[in-house]
Amino acid sequence: MATLDILYFAWVRELIGRDDDQVERPAPDSTVADLIDMLASRGGGYAEALGDKERLRAALDQHFVVLDTPIGQARELAIFPPVTGG
């Protein structure tokens, strides 16, 4: 089974209460937004962290992507708030 590793950062990580998850890799044309909706439907901290996609950003295989990007063959998805470095 092909799997997709999912990493969480900042308050997304705190609300979910986990650093990461592993799911079966969805169909290649499903998007990051689709996967976020799927995770949010788990309820609890997932719904709280992932319910408002306007507040979320993502990276596929360590490259920033917009949320309507298809997951394709990516192995790692990271979900996080807008960055605040510098």
Binding site: F9, F80, V83, T84, G85, G86
Partner: protein, 147 residues
């Protein structure tokens, strides 16, 4: 010379500037970011995405090097728990002429704020810690560099 570091340890600004002065350019520009101690801040925690951070900062440096004729670029970004007054970030650029050095330095710090996977959490003496919200103006500033 091109060097990126993501580290918990402090750095020596004088040593970094001295290295940039030796790459044969006509000028060195730099920016040092310091943790502000306002609003009773007791600590600033920097979280990052370890597998992505250094490669992404390298890509930002590559972008700067395609836009300006640079002889040297040095970026240091600290992670972990910092105190008010601590150095948090250093950007140094060396070029033959001042304009390239100054502009690329400003570009790099703007892009580090909006294009690199770091998240700041503020800790206070008398209330719960809070994650810093990204500022729309920072994103606008970074996109202002898009040509």
């Amino acid at each position: 010379m091109k060097q990126v570091s993501v580290q918990a340890e402090d750095f020596d600004v004088a040593a970094e500037l001295s290295a940039l002065e030796q790459v044969g350019g006509g000028g060195v520009a730099s920016f040092t970011g310091i943790v502000r101690g306002e609003n009773d801040l007791t600590a600033l925690e920097l979280q990052h995405y370890p597998a992505m951070t250094a490669p992404q900062v390298e890509r930002i440096v590559e972008e700067a090097m395609t836009r300006w004729p640079l002889l040297g670029v040095r970026v240091i970004h600290r992670v972990g728990r910092l105190s008010p007054g601590d150095r948090i970030v250093f950007v140094g650029t060396a070029s033959r002429h001042r304009t390239a050095a100054l502009e690329s330095c400003a570009f790099l710090i703007d892009w580090l704020k909006s294009h690199a996977p770091f998240w700041k959490k503020e800790h206070f003496a008398d209330r719960d810690p809070t994650w810093v919200e990204a500022k729309a103006e920072d994103e606008a500033k970074a996109y202002g560099w898009t040509k």
